[in-house]
């Protein structure tokens, strides 16, 4: 029986699956190479966590996003159980259910099964279609595997997104992007290769030159834009009506719950009725399995404002400051007046009615823009 349920609806659910077939040299996520008993323990704990979540919050997901790690690395029966657990505890996604798909784990049959299980959106981690580039990235699949996976996904009728990594030494980015478009992708995420701390790439001293990264961002906008996939966020491009609803929820500051090891949530603060938020991050796998509690941080109005600008300006549409003021009770035009006018003066942001958005130049240096607004 539910007690003390927070009255605010939570409409977005993220499920983290920590297993991978291999560890990529650019990845800083906490992942594990899978072992049978681990998956069993994982599913059991996931069930418990969802039950606890449902005890405290009214979770009715419009969107579910199953990411990782490599969720498609789970066996069909395991993924089915995951689906069942979510459905039983909080209900399955009413609008969009995304599964991250690794080409090495895909087959026509498996993909068809995932689709019939209820995944309406498949996000393929192709990264590139060039074998040499894939080798550089330490990926275990070749370009053909990526291409076939995209085709199989499209064949199911699911919205199909393709991840392409950009700014890699020796990459013909134009042809990677064109191929994704030619295959019929509905959505492309073009991520600049980023050298994260404590990754093998960092250890061997891989560097992504500023100019190359900048030109990759421009190429992505040009090539994808010309093909009808409009940029709607720094790295994301979609055909009309095919944007990712779940990810937009993050950028627009909606409540979301994350379950699984190292998953994050942003939920209403139970102690501050009608305002305040708590951001929490679950423990990494061993701690999470042992039932360790999440690392929580309270956000006050000013924190929320900073978050809203940091995330919202990533979207091409920017942030509606009127609506934001209503939501969190602070008007950025007043409490960030100086920073905003400085940024406008520098040509990095613009105000269009109540909307604050990054200019084309501002979009390229958004971290600096965001730092000024925090």
């Amino acid at each position: 029986m539910r007690t003390n349920v927070n009255s605010q609806l939570v409409r977005h659910l993220y499920v983290h699956v920590p297993f991978c077939p291999t560890i990529c040299p650019f990845c800083s996520f906490h992942v594990l190479e899978r072992r049978g008993p681990d998956v069993e323990a994982y599913l059991t704990r996931l069930d418990e966590e969802l039950a606890e979540l449902a005890d405290h919050y009214d979770v009715r997901p419009d969107t579910v996003y199953v990411g990782g790690g490599t969720p498609s690395h789970l066996r069909p029966s395991e993924l089915e159980r995951l689906h069942r657990i979510v459905e039983r505890r909080v209900g399955w996604a009413a609008i969009e259910a995304t599964l991250e798909v690794h080409p090495s784990t895909a087959s026509a049959r498996r993909i068809a099964d995932w689709s019939s299980l209820g995944f309406t959106r498949l996000s393929v981690g192709a990264q590139s279609f060039d074998d040499a580039v894939l080798r550089t990235l330490g990926r275990p699949h070749d370009g053909d595997a990526g291409r076939r996976t995209v085709e199989w996904c499209l064949a199911t009728g699911a919205v199909t997104s393709v991840d392409i990594m950009t700014a890699i030494d020796g990459q013909d980015l134009g042809s990677d992007l064109s191929l994704a478009v030619a295959l019929g992708a509905d959505h492309v995420s073009a991520y600049t290769l980023t050298i994260e701390p404590d990754t093998p790439f960092e250890a061997i001293g891989v560097v992504v030159p500023d100019e190359r990264a900048a030109s990759a961002l421009r190429t992505a906008c040009d090539v994808l834009g010309a093909a009808g996939l409009e940029r709607y966020e720094v790295s994301n491009h979609a055909r009309p009506g095919k944007r990712c609803v779940h990810n937009q929820a993050y950028w627009m500051g909606a409540w979301f719950a994350g379950v699984g090891p190292s998953a994050s949530s942003m939920l209403p603060d139970p102690d501050v009725p009608g305002g305040g938020a708590v951001r929490s991050t679950n423990a990494e796998t061993p701690g999470w399995l042992a039932g360790e509690s999440a690392d929580c941080g309270r956000l006050d109005g000013d924190d929320l404002l900073g978050d809203a600008l940091l995330c919202g300006l990533r979207m091409v549409e920017g942030v509606d400051l009127d609506r934001l003021a209503v939501r969190i009770g602070l008007d950025a035009r007043i409490v960030r007046r100086e920073a905003i006018s400085q940024l406008i003066g520098d040509g990095l942001v613009e105000l269009d009615g109540p909307r604050l958005r990054a200019t084309e130049v501002g979009m390229m240096v958004l971290d600096r823009v965001a730092a000024e607004l925090l």
Partner: protein
């Protein structure tokens, strides 16, 4: 409370008080003279152990180097004294700094001593600066007890270097002790020699008080704590004291010995070294070199003062945050109490706002003062290029003194510029003579003398413009000789030179703080190099930043820092927000340490870094 166990010697209680003060003939006051890395701090540690002054469990390496900065840099900056008991004797060990910039502090500690221990590395021989300090000791009639340290090293050649010391200083090779401060071998014998050879102090207990302050530092809880050496009379707790040079009166709240923790006693007698707390808040009233006497029965004359240290190198120090000007002034006032060898006066820079022109003994001293201001007073400072004191001769023959290059007027307004010179003495293994001569030549040096101290070791004497010595000369000398050469220097007058003023422009705006005076023949290279270096140091901004060097309005070099093209996180989803925010907040903190010059953000140590990268 006595913090230490006494294994030998007389008990503290027995030696203090009017009739219980330590008898003069049982006191030995000494300093250790040694080159950096020749093992002075290790020897001091060993002596402290042998005398039971430090519980072995509490022993930390380099006990006397209590300032973090000293341990990090492996050098002694501030004087520390310690009172030790050894074989019925009291030994006051007064630490001396080991860097050429701090010759003034060495002279202060020597004035409180009757003798010195000279420590020479048995694998390297005596160094230029150690030699200079030995001459200083000889001038002061101090007894030198020489020892060769590190005899446990396979490379040690004690016979060779004992002969060298005999030749240079006239100390018989047979009298030179051989020790290993590391293993403790020979250290007890060294202490025996100290007791036997170093004369006890002289002084009259019934005379009016004369005590010398040879170091002072400011403690936030107790005010000024001074290190003192009593020459005559008694320094009694509770007595009214007159500070003869400052002309002020204070009450002695506490006097005591350092064992090494401060240990209060009723009085210090003639020849004794200890500390004095007199509730002094005003930083100017307890300078080193001050003579203290009793207000009720003052001495007729103060003791011989010390040679006032003369600042040689100058640079501007500005708070990165303009509002912190008052904090900087307070910090300088407080720091000057610990280190009276730097000078400061307010100045205004078009680029940097309000700050101070600070004079230092040398380049290391400059870095240390700045680091201490930042660490101990939590300030963010920007330093301008170091400069020396120039003399401008006008057409009518009148002279003006300039220590800030941006004050140099156009050439039409003066007849001549004179610059200060140093007489430099370098001691080096003979195989490095060629490379050192090249270095001195390239620094406009003029050779005065070359002496073979032994077949393997040479002393070079050069007269070099100070401006060429202060920037990077020491580091260059060290790197060219694998660290074997050593340097000592002293002022050697002024001479006219063909000097020009080189301006640096950032984003087409002249930055007065970056202006320098350079010899005409070197100006072009200097401007070119400085632009290249600044290009490396200045972070990318939102716009292209041209860096230009100019002489009298004529551009001689140009570089451009390209605007950054891309700075945006590729992936930012639900789980990344907290981490990203932390990162951006940290970057923003970093930016606070940058100084805005016009619209250009500059790291606060940009100029010092540019100069250090030289060559």
């Amino acid at each position: 409370m006595s913090a230490t166990a006494h294994t030998t010697g007389v008990s503290l209680d027995a030696c203090y008080g009017r009739e219980r003060m330590t008898q003069l003939d049982r006191i030995r006051n000494l300093s250790i003279i040694a080159h950096i890395d020749h093992g002075k701090s290790t020897l001091a540690d060993r002596i402290l152990e042998i005398c039971g002054a430090v519980d072995p469990r509490e022993m930390r390496a380099q006990y006397l180097d209590s300032m973090d900065l000293e341990r990090e840099r492996g050098i002694t900056i501030k004087l520390q004294s310690v009172r030790l008991d050894y074989r019925d004797h009291v030994i006051h060990l007064i630490d001396t700094p080991g860097h050429v910039d701090f010759g003034y502090e060495v002279s202060r500690s020597l004035a409180a001593c009757e003798g010195v221990i000279l420590v020479v590395d048995a694998s390297q021989g005596i160094e230029a600066q150690t030699l200079a300090n030995c001459y200083l000791a000889l001038e002061n009639d101090l007894e030198i007890v020489a020892c060769l340290n590190k005899i446990d090293l396979p490379a040690a050649e004690p016979d060779l270097y004992a002969a060298e010391i005999e030749q240079i200083l006239g100390i018989p090779a047979d009298d030179i002790l051989r020790i290993s401060a590391k293993t403790g071998e020979g250290v007890a014998e060294l202490l025996d020699a100290v007791v036997e050879r170093i004369p006890p102090p002289v002084g009259e207990v019934d005379e009016p008080l004369q005590a010398l302050i040879f170091d002072s530092h400011f403690d936030s809880y107790r005010g000024v704590i001074s290190s003192v050496r009593v020459m005559n009379g008694q320094l009694r707790s509770g007595s009214k004291l007159k500070f003869m040079q400052a002309g002020v009166t204070h009450e002695a709240i506490e006097v005591g010995g350092r064992r090494p923790e401060n240990t209060p006693v009723p009085a210090l007698g003639p020849g004794e070294v200890g500390y004095l707390i007199a509730g002094i808040k005003d930083v100017g009233e307890a300078r080193s070199g001050e003579t203290i006497t009793e207000a009720a029965r003052p001495a007729a004359e103060p003791l011989d003062g010390y040679m006032e240290p003369k600042p040689m190198v100058f640079c501007g120090l500005y708070p990165v945050d303009g509002d912190a000007f008052d904090d900087l002034r307070d910090a300088l006032e407080k720091l000057r109490l610990n280190d009276s060898s730097f000078s400061y006066e307010p100045e205004v820079s078009g680029a940097l706002g309000f700050g101070f022109r600070v004079g230092y003994l040398g380049l290391l001293h400059m870095e240390i003062v700045r680091e201490r201001l930042e660490r101990e007073f939590d300030l963010n400072l920007i330093a301008t290029a170091p400069s020396v004191e120039y003399r401008l001769v006008k057409e009518d023959g009148s002279e003006i003194v300039i220590d800030n290059p941006s004050d140099v007027p156009p050439p039409s307004e003066y007849k001549q510029i004179l610059e200060p010179y140093f007489a430099c003495s370098i001691i080096t293994p003979s195989n490095y003579v060629g490379t050192l001569m090249d270095l001195c030549q390239s620094r406009r040096g003029e050779m005065k003398k070359m002496d073979y101290l032994s077949p393997e070791r040479v002393e070079l004497q050069y007269r070099i413009p100070l401006a060429e010595v202060v920037i990077d000369f020491f580091d260059q000398m060290k790197s060219r000789t694998q660290g074997y050469a050593s340097l000592d220097y002293e002022p050697a007058g002024y001479d006219a030179s063909q000097l020009v003023r080189v301006d640096i422009l950032l984003n087409s705006e002249q930055v007065d703080a970056f202006c320098t005076i350079v010899h005409k023949d070197k100006a072009y290279d200097y401007g070119k190099k400085m632009c290249e270096k600044l290009k490396e140091i200045i972070p990318r901004q939102q716009f292209d930043v041209p860096i230009q060097a100019a002489i009298g309005g004529r551009f001689i070099a140009r570089q451009t820092v390209k605007a950054y093209r891309k700075d945006v996180t590729a992936k930012l989803y639900g789980g990344d927000i907290t981490r990203k925010k932390k990162l951006l907040t940290k970057q923003k903190e970093g930016k606070k340490r940058m100084k805005n010059i016009g619209r250009v953000e500059l790291p606060s140590d940009a100029f010092i870094t540019a100069l250090r990268l030289d060559d």
